[in-house]
Amino acid sequence: MAVTVLLIDDDREFLDILAERLTIRGMEVTSAASGRAALDLVRDARFNVIVLDLQMPEMDGLQVLERLVALDPAQRIILLTGHATVSRGVHAMKLGAADVLEKPVDIRELVERIKTVASAPRGVGANGQAGQPSGPLQKGRGQGLLQALRGLFKSGR
């Protein structure tokens, strides 16, 4: 069965192209151009993975993340960010994000992370809370963030 993905980004063009590329790779993709539109969608539908932009007007990615986790603590969420920073990345992981990837993202890496996150059983999570993803996800949790942060340290940010 196809992995269902909800993409959330305020840049409509980015959203459309990424949706098309993930669809070509066999995923079933739904798009939302704002945090509010996404929250409306998740009330009616379930998605294996949500890919969420960190920087958005009105409600930013961290606020949307908090609300998504409040609605479903087991929801698997990958954050996309223009710039990874240690504090924001760690904060996102604490709030319940499964991973953080830096834009521009390599599609192979994104697909791999989506598949890893989607295949994780829903149970007791990395932070010990019931309903949080666990298992393979826990082992691979935050791989994208670690990679982004390695780049960050190399560049001296």
């Binding site: 063009e13 098309e20 007007p57 834009k103 521009p104 599609i107």
Partner: protein, 220 residues
């Protein structure tokens, strides 16, 4: 006086950091779209090798998008370059509307993130003698504090009028925000810049605006 210079420099460094961080974010976003478009071209070529015909119209759309985003990124880099040079610019005679336009362009992304719309009121250009970077820094302090007070849908119109030997820069906020509170915050946070530019900050609650009075000629 030297401690004031130190404070002006320190505020300037913080301003420079905020603006370049925001600009680099805009560049990253442009690169992300170009990256996805390039990736999509690769995907379509790979699909054509498997028998799906290439749609010339689709290719044209992708090419147009890449061109548009490259142009957008080039505009951002030009803005960054102009801003970087303004940091070590001496006192110059320039149009106040040029300075307002630069400030709006620099702050636009951060304003959008806060749900605030920025614009410039129509009016004649007024020549002023000033340090553009320091004035832009003060205007940024005003805008940053408006963002903190503003709700979603806030509009800020920047304008300038001549009053005898002064020029008055106005920041008109709709819906109204507590401009007296804004005046206090800006006067405190921007105090070294206000002193340096010999300016005065006054709230005009009757018209829902903050007014910055500055001399037409820079006073050493």
């Amino acid at each position: 006086m030297s401690s004031y210079h130190g404070k002006v420099d320190s505020l300037g460094l913080s301003f420079f950091g905020s603006m370049t961080a925001s600009i680099s974010h805009e560049i990253k976003n442009a690169l992300a779209i170009i990256n996805e478009n390039a990736g999509l071209l690769g995907d379509l070529v790979a699909l054509s090798e498997k028998g799906r015909p290439l749609d010339p119209e689709r290719l044209q759309t992708i090419s147009d998008s890449i061109r548009r985003r490259v142009q957008g990124a080039d505009d951002i880099v030009r803005r960054l370059n102009r801003f970087a040079h303004s940091a070590n610019q001496p006192v110059v005679t320039t149009g106040i509307r040029d300075i307002l336009a630069c400030t709006v362009a620099l702050s636009e992304r951060l304003a959008t993130m806060k749900g605030v719309r920025l614009s410039i009121a129509a009016g004649e250009e007024i020549e002023v003698q000033t340090l553009p970077f320091v004035l832009e820094n003060l205007l940024w302090i005003c805008l940053k504090n408006i963002f903190l007070l503003a709700g979603e849908g806030q509009q800020v119109v920047l304008g300038a009028v001549r009053e005898e030997s002064d020029v008055v820069v106005t920041l008109h906020c709709t819906p109204e925000i507590p401009v007296e509170q804004l005046e206090t915050t800006v006067a405190t946070e921007g105090q070294p810049l206000i002193f340096f530019l010999r300016m005065q900050v006054r709230a005009d609650p009757h018209n829902g605006r903050l007014c910055l009075h500055m001399p037409l000629r820079f006073i050493e």
